[in-house]
């Protein structure tokens, strides 16, 4: 019989164990995304006094009214800055999170509509959502309270409105929740790799199960495959949970349904690659403690460096270098890209996929070779 057939037999065994412990397994797959998306994703909603620089080229009564409205909710702390360049410098330095430029003749423009220009620091994604919302609401209030009264609207087709455009300093329009979902999905993958396939490989070794499998005529590789298969299953399951929770909680996807297939391709690739890494570790260590500590020590930095929680382009250069050699970065980037931007430009996605495939193939081969040399 084929290696694949044996792997399926062993996978069925893993699945029976999984099913027997279904409560624990599901709880684990749900808890992680739930905690991260609901808590971390919404944590910014409570923020207060976010520093905003205002460059006021108007200085008339209406712009003062606008600023007062903006400050009223206590979400924003306004700093007046006289020129746009120094305001932008403050933004880059992290002293303010947003810059709002108020044009001359604000609120007195007889053409009706008027536009504010804003600049946002997207490296603090959860505040960007709040700030954008706050500016939007203030604009509406301003329209209702000031604009519609102050201007003779008789000769106009529609009432004048205040709009604003948003410029992100790092190019990505990130709602933190959308930003986070990709990170959470891949976090589930690497920790799943550590606690599903690799971990059971270790306990199978310790309990002697592995020995009893190895004396049967099956090929060793099928044992490995079954572990990886189970890891992929659990990661996919957790990934689906993360996706559903994220979307129910108000996240949106730029890539649409077709993109979901691609997202799961990333997840499968990553769980094969990291699953194989975990299995290598499991065949090299003998104690659960050693495995846990070493595994966490390897996975944690990879996790943080991948940009799962904050954009890697805000890292200092030496960290950026480390994150560039972290395979997880490419998985997070790929999934996030699909989430936030969709498919275009494709070249970025292709890079991510290629790097991830290379990583998975290498670690798979390494796990086969190293597993071959381990006894017990």
């Amino acid at each position: 019989m084929s290696i694949l057939g044996d792997a399926l037999t062993l996978y069925a065994r893993e699945f029976l164990i999984f099913k027997k412990n279904i409560n624990v397994s599901v709880a684990r797959s749900v808890m992680f995304p739930l905690v991260f998306i609901l808590l971390l994703g919404n944590i910014g909603n409570t923020s207060k006094n976010l520093p905003v620089a205002i460059v006021n080229y108007d200085n008339g009564i209406n712009s003062i009214k606008f600023i007062n409205l903006l400050e009223a909710a206590n979400i924003v702390r306004v700093l007046s800055v006289t020129n746009q360049q120094s305001a932008l410098n403050m933004l880059y330095m992290g002293q303010v999170t947003m810059v709002i430029v108020i044009p001359p003749h604000f609120g007195t423009n007889n053409q009706g509509s008027q536009t504010l220009t804003t600049y946002l620091d997207s490296s603090v994604p959860f505040s960007t959502t709040i700030l954008v919302n706050q500016v939007e609401q203030t604009a509406k209030q301003f329209d209702a309270q000031v604009l519609s009264k102050g201007i003779n609207s008789a000769n106009m087709q529609q009432s004048p409105t205040t709009s604003f455009n948003v410029n992100y300093t790092y190019g990505t329009a990130s709602d933190y929740k959308d930003f986070l979902i990709a990170g959470v999905m891949l976090s589930v993958v690497i920790f799943g790799a550590l606690w599903s396939g690799g971990f059971t490989m270790l306990t199978d070794r310790q309990l002697g199960n592995l020995k009893t499998f190895l004396v049967t005529p099956i090929h060793r590789f099928s044992i490995l495959l079954s572990k990886l298969g189970m890891g992929v299953t659990q990661s996919t399951m957790a990934g689906i949970f993360a996706l559903v929770i994220g979307i129910l909680d108000g996240g949106h996807m730029a890539c649409g349904l077709y993109g979901v297939a691609l997202i799961f391709m990333f997840i499968v690739l990553a769980s094969i690659g990291f699953g194989a890494l975990a299995i290598i570790l499991a065949t090299r260590t003998s104690k659960i403690e050693t495995y846990s500590i070493t595994g966490t020590m390897i996975m944690m930095p990879m996790w943080f460096l991948s940009g799962a929680f904050s954009p890697t382009n805000t890292f200092p250069p030496w960290l950026q270098f480390l994150s560039a050699i972290d395979p997880l970065t490419y998985a997070v980037d790929g999934v996030r890209y699909l989430f936030l931007k969709g498919f275009i430009p494709t070249s970025v996605l292709i890079t991510d996929v290629v790097v991830l495939i290379i990583f998975s193939v290498i670690s798979l081969i390494a796990s086969v070779l190293l597993f071959k040399n381990t006894i017990e």
Partner: protein, 333 residues
């Protein structure tokens, strides 16, 4: 050349500089129950790992039913079933599922698997529990399940590594009964390792005693015991304060093989043991020593081991009643 079920020739296994198995020669005939008796760390599991192709020997050869384990590994594997030192049943699987898994891994057709599952569960006395999760079984039941699991592919040889470690007396004798039945009714040759003299004595047709990876003696249990003494072993218990003096007196009378454990002094009888006892008790009471009890027993394998190695097997074995404790230590290295 005789056709053996298991033939181990000049087997050596080194871990670095450490020689775990040292020129082991064992030949087991078909239909035998053979015991490999040795204390912790004597190389039993290492030998078994090599026997099943899990470890590559440093040198030497192993034949199972005529098949070279290294060269014809897959054929050799089909001849033998293994029960590992750790009780291996899957707690999350039912008894039936446990057996089916291994039937599939041995690539048996489903109808054969189903037929054998029925037979084997009956053999283990577990047919009532076929759909219960193995995790709910008692230690003895789990052990019996793991034994019949190793028979799913109808092997000619069954290898068990310390099969009764951690079992109580009742379960131990149940397992012995099961092994005898497998040997008798199915004609399966059995090789088992043990630290328990009693087990080797009760169960095995022949024994090899190993120490530090070397065979120190081989033969039937009674042959081995005769090596120590053809006569009974006398044991005299005295109060602790008299122990040293008692030993001195006995040594002055009978130079050979006097030993002390706990509150007892042992020595082999020579000639008429009753007469010996009488005169000895008289001598002791003359010296003011009160004898608490006095007895005789047939020589045991422990006596053999003591004579051969100078240490008591029971002492070295009793530190870790559960072999797994040792294994964990080994893994930490």
């Amino acid at each position: 050349m005789k056709d053996y079920a298991i033939e181990i020739t000049k087997l050596v296994k080194k871990f670095g500089d450490f020689v775990a198995v040292n020129k082991l020669d064992i030949a087991i005939e078909r239909g035998e129950i053979f015991g490999l008796l040795g204390p912790n760390g004597s190389g039993k599991t290492t030998t078994i790992n090599m026997l099943l192709g899990l470890l590559e020997p440093t040198s030497g050869t192993i034949h199972l039913d005529g098949m070279n384990v290294v060269e014809d590994s897959s054929e050799a594997k089909g001849k033998v079933g293994l029960v590992t030192q750790e009780t291996v049943v899957e707690g999350e699987l039912t008894a039936t599922e446990n057996l089916r898994l291994f039937g599939r891994l041995y690539h048996l057709p489903d109808d054969v698997i189903n037929k054998r599952i029925g037979e084997l569960l009956e053999l283990a006395g577990l047919e009532k529990f076929k759909d219960n999760y193995a995790g709910t079984f008692s230690g003895g039941m789990q052990r019996r399940l793991s034994v019949v699991k190793a028979l799913i592919h109808n092997p000619k040889i069954l290898v068990l590594d310390e099969p009764t470690v951690g079992l109580d007396v009742q379960n131990r004798s149940n397992l012995w009964e099961l092994l005898r039945k497998i040997n008798r009714e199915r004609g399966v040759t059995i090789l088992l390792t043990t630290q328990y003299l009693e087990e080797a004595d009760q169960l095995c047709n022949r024994i090899s005693i190993i120490n530090n990876g070397k065979v120190v003696a081989s033969g039937t249990p009674s042959q081995l015991k005769q090596q120590v003494s053809k006569h009974q072993i006398i044991e005299i218990a005295v109060e602790k304060k008299f122990l040293v003096k008692t030993e001195e007196i006995i040594k002055s009378l009978y130079k050979e093989n006097v030993r002390v454990t706990g509150d007892k002094v042992y020595f082999p009888a020579t000639g008429d043991s009753l007469e010996m006892l009488n005169s000895l008790v008289k001598k002791l009471s003359k010296s003011g020593i009160e004898v608490v009890s006095i007895g005789m027993h047939q020589p045991t394998l422990d006596d053999v081991f003591l004579k051969l190695t100078g240490t008591s097997l029971r002492d070295s074995a009793s530190n870790t009643d559960n072999g797994q404790g040792k294994d964990v230590l080994k893994m930490m290295k």
